[in-house]
């Protein structure tokens, strides 16, 4: 598939979007929430000409307790596992109503926001279906805080190896989460969609330009966004952005794009920060032993190298 990309203006420090936030202040997210920070930046980049669909989760609960709503764009929440399917319906409706001259005569992106559980676990079927069907103005954003935080820090398939959660507790017979994080970005890319990207709110311009690119491309786009959760990670709220930076500089979370099957590693990490720097600021990893760290380091480098090799083997021309 060849992405049809319309020109778009890149966000820079100079032209950073001003004015009131499309996601209004006064929501009920926890102090230092990296997820709401990412959401706000993404919405700043998009402006107000889009329709938002939320899965059940932290962002839905903290932004929309009746009779209040923080959303200054049309917004719908239906259930937990189906944000991709609801967005598919909205996208199809806007398309047919435009064709029948009963709706706005322009492309309006429909953006689904879901957490890691709503994406990689309970929502993966609906997401796979939506990506495979090729909805033109469909963007799916996974805000990944690496566990079911809204229900009280239960493990998901996105919880990193070794993390202590309420359903992967560290104990005498367990080091905590005993599986490796599911690679949702590569799973999305395997659908052959025109655009997939990973991003971290610590690199805010990169994050914002990725959703602008997603909106400029015709066809389904998938963004996997790292979303620090001080509450669930047992981390000081002021370290949210720091952790979002360290996750990239340690190679744990490579920041890259897959455009028409070509890989672009946005931030090559030749001299990685020690992984311990990332792990030690989070209480969820404090029980880890030396042998756990050996395994984590080995696997992190293996996963990072996979992306490096993909970028070398399938380089983007532009």
């Amino acid at each position: 598939m060849k992405a049809l990309e319309t020109p778009y203006e890149k966000v820079t420090a100079k032209n950073f979007p001003k004015g009131p936030d499309v996601l209004a202040s006064g929501h009920r997210a926890c102090q230092g929430c990296g997820e709401v920070l990412a959401l706000r930046l993404l919405m700043k980049a998009l402006g107000n000409d889009f329709v938002a669909v939320s899965a059940t989760g932290c962002m839905e609960v903290c932004t929309a307790p009746f009779p209040q709503s923080a959303w200054r764009v049309p917004w719908i929440h239906v259930a937990f596992e189906n944000a991709a399917a609801v967005a598919s319906g909205v996208e199809s409706a806007l398309k047919v109503l435009r064709r029948k001259k009963r709706g706005p005569d322009r492309r309006i992106p429909v953006v689904a926001f879901a957490g890691d559980g709503g994406t990689a676990d309970i929502g993966i079927q609906a997401l796979s279906g939506a990506l495979e069907r090729g909805h033109e103005d469909f963007i799916y954003v996974c805000l990944d805080n690496e566990a079911y935080m809204n229900t009280g820090i239960q493990r998901s398939s996105e919880t990193p190896f070794g993390a202590n959660t309420t359903t992967s507790p560290a104990g005498t017979q367990s080091q905590g989460q005993n599986t490796w994080k599911k690679n949702m970005a590569l799973i999305a890319a395997a659908h052959g969609v025109p655009y997939v990207a990973t991003a971290s709110p610590a690199y805010h311009l990169d994050l914002m330009n990725k959703i602008r690119r997603a909106a400029a491309i015709s066809g389904p786009a998938y963004l996997h966004v790292y979303a620090p959760c001080p509450t669930g990670w047992r981390m000081k709220p002021e370290l949210s952005v720091e952790s979002a930076k360290l996750v990239v500089t340690t190679r744990i979370f490579p920041v890259y794009e897959v455009l028409d099957g070509k890989y672009i590693l946005n931030r090559k990490v030749d001299a990685p920060t020690p992984i311990e720097d990332y792990l030690k600021i989070q209480g969820r990893f404090k029980h880890l032993k030396a042998e756990d760290l050996v395994y984590i380091k080995e696997r992190v480098n293996e996963e990072y190298e996979r992306i490096v090799k993909l970028a070398e083997a399938f380089p983007a021309t532009a």
Binding site: G89, S92, A93
Partner: protein, 390 residues
């Protein structure tokens, strides 16, 4: 006299969705519903219906996409059966409260287990309390007409609720019947494009599906129930308007030879035609039997039904579903409740039959009428299975 066309009932339902200028169809195949959506995808593929057909990966996504499409202002249709409806269940309970007037055709089929693809009403009974308007068709003409009426009723600004249009799987969905297909122009003038009161609109943003705390949840549920109960007026109005336009008359509760009847059979769906024939046979033998059939299952037409039933001595209520652990079936429970304070009050006996495609014959109705007449008072408080292997 209109020209009648021989057509499979499933196809007639799809043709009705075409006549209604449906905007979005999101559907997943399941027997015995599949012919409806197959035909719709064919109509879209050949440019006979200008719609977006979303071939979703499950019924859960079908209903989710329908809610999204309807919330965005599109006229939306889907169809399912049995396990498919069960998989939709979570979203089924959300659609009415979000006030999305989706039309869902259900080719009624038994729920697993054991897995069974044939007809009964166990699927629709799982969503009995969800807030959808539910209509039952008895034959092909009704299936087509009620599909058109479902959009008309659901989209009424006083209603704005989703509607299920029920046809018995196989015994109705797969039959070829003579059907009067109204002209495109007549349907389009009866049902102009839907104008939602609110929708997902970038020029006037609203939020749909907010969190209901203990301070607002009860009011949201009650508001939906109020609208559903009040929708009976819109149903009657739409039936009246339909008769004026197309000449065919529908009522929430239909009757057949009920005047002076001592024993009334009460049915829903396509077995009613068999019951009618049985009533004729009984009348020929001097048995004062009549037939009452519920067309509007939700909102339950309590007043209309009560008025008819209190005139009889015996009422034999037919259920096509076992309400596990309960003394009676779902239709039986409603009838007992509306008649409890009636004076005079007929004797009510509840029968369950025709489960999982088990044949329902005229003889069954003869037997039921005899049993209803002779049932001793102590026997009436529990349903009785008819046609079961001993």
């Amino acid at each position: 006299m209109a020209k009648l066309v021989g057509m499979e009932v499933s196809l007639a339902v799809a043709e009705a969705a075409r006549l209604c200028d449906t905007d979005v169809v999101a559907a997943y195949p399941i027997t015995p519903q599949t012919h409806i959506v197959e035909h719709l995808s064919e109509l879209v593929a050949n440019g006979k219906l200008d719609a977006e057909y979303i071939p979703v990966e499950s019924e859960q996504s079908a209903m989710s996409s329908c809610i999204g499409a309807s919330a965005a202002g599109a006229r939306t249709f889907t169809a399912t059966s049995s396990q498919g409806l069960a998989l939709m269940n979570e979203m089924i309970f959300i659609a009415p409260v979000l006030r999305t007037p989706i039309v869902l055709a259900i080719a009624n089929r038994a729920l697993s287990a054991p897995i069974n693809i044939w007809n009964d009403h166990s699927d629709i009974m799982t969503i009995r309390d969800s807030g959808w308007i539910s209509l039952f068709a008895e034959n092909g003409q009704e299936a087509l007409d009620l599909t058109i009426l479902s959009f008309k009723i659901g989209e009424d600004p006083q209603v704005s609720l989703p509607v299920t249009m029920n046809i018995d799987g196989f015994t109705l969905s797969h039959f070829i019947e003579p059907i009067d297909i109204p002209s495109l122009e007549s349907v389009r003038s009866f049902l102009p494009p839907w104008k939602p009161l609110v929708k997902l609109d970038v020029s006037d943003p609203i939020s749909i599906g907010l969190l209901g705390t203990p301070e607002s949840y009860t009011e949201a549920r009650k508001a939906t129930d109020n609208v559903l109960v009040a929708s009976k007026t819109a149903v009657d109005k739409a039936f009246k308007e339909f008769k004026e336009r197309f000449g065919r008359e529908y009522k929430s509760v239909e009757t057949y030879r009920t005047e002076d009847a001592e024993t009334l059979l009460l049915t829903m769906g396509s077995i009613s035609e068999t019951a009618m024939t049985a009533v004729d046979e009984m009348r020929d033998k001097g048995v004062k039997a009549g037939l009452v059939r519920i067309r509007l299952w939700r909102p339950f037409p309590a007043e209309d039904l009560k008025e008819i039933l209190v005139k009889a001595k015996n009422v034999a209520v037919i259920d096509r579903h076992i309400m596990m652990g309960a003394p009676v079936g779902p239709v039986g429970a409603e009838v007992f409740s509306i008649l409890y304070n009636a004076n005079p009050r007929p004797k009510v006996k509840n029968f369950v039959l025709g489960l999982g495609g088990r044949d329902v014959t005229r003889d069954d109705f003869h037997l039921i009428v005899e049993k209803a007449k002779s049932a001793p008072a102590q026997d009436i408080e529990r349903y009785e299975l008819v046609g079961v292997w001993e």
